[in-house]
Assembly symmetry: C2
Homo-oligomer: 77 residues x 2
């Protein structure tokens, strides 16, 4: 199985969700992308359907928006 990708922007909601997701799925099954330190991944995330962060892109290509930290507009700010 390929990896899921967890996109976030460092907000408290994001960090809390990141810990939960890593605990549930296992660290080796999730790639974590922090937009604050890697803005170059924003376009890729939007193309995949990410509308807010934190969000989990599953290996099947579905996007699960988890809680609500910030909109992509805020991330690009």
């Amino acid at each position: 199985m390929s990896k899921s990708i967890f996109y976030h922007a460092g907000c408290p909601v994001c960090v809390s969700a990141e810990h939960d997701i890593i605990n549930l799925l296992g660290k080796d099954k999730v790639e974590v992308v922090h937009f604050g330190s890697d803005k170059s991944r924003i376009a890729e995330a939007e193309k995949a359907g990410v509308k807010s962060v934190p969000a989990l892109l599953t290996p099947k290509g579905n996007v699960l928006h988890i809680n609500f930290g910030a909109s992509m507009a805020d991330v690009k700010g």
Copy 2:
């Protein structure tokens, strides 16, 4: 590890998220609770902090609200 509990109310958003969650975590690690067929679990979910469905209650007691299907007020209807 104890199980996570996935609460939902049968809406299309919920069912789609349910499939993703079961694929990611594994069927034996998630208990699925459908409020439509089991209204007696609503109080328990609210007590755990569930504010909208679909939501995943992790073994650590954290609630991850996934996408946004319906508020608990709608579920109680």
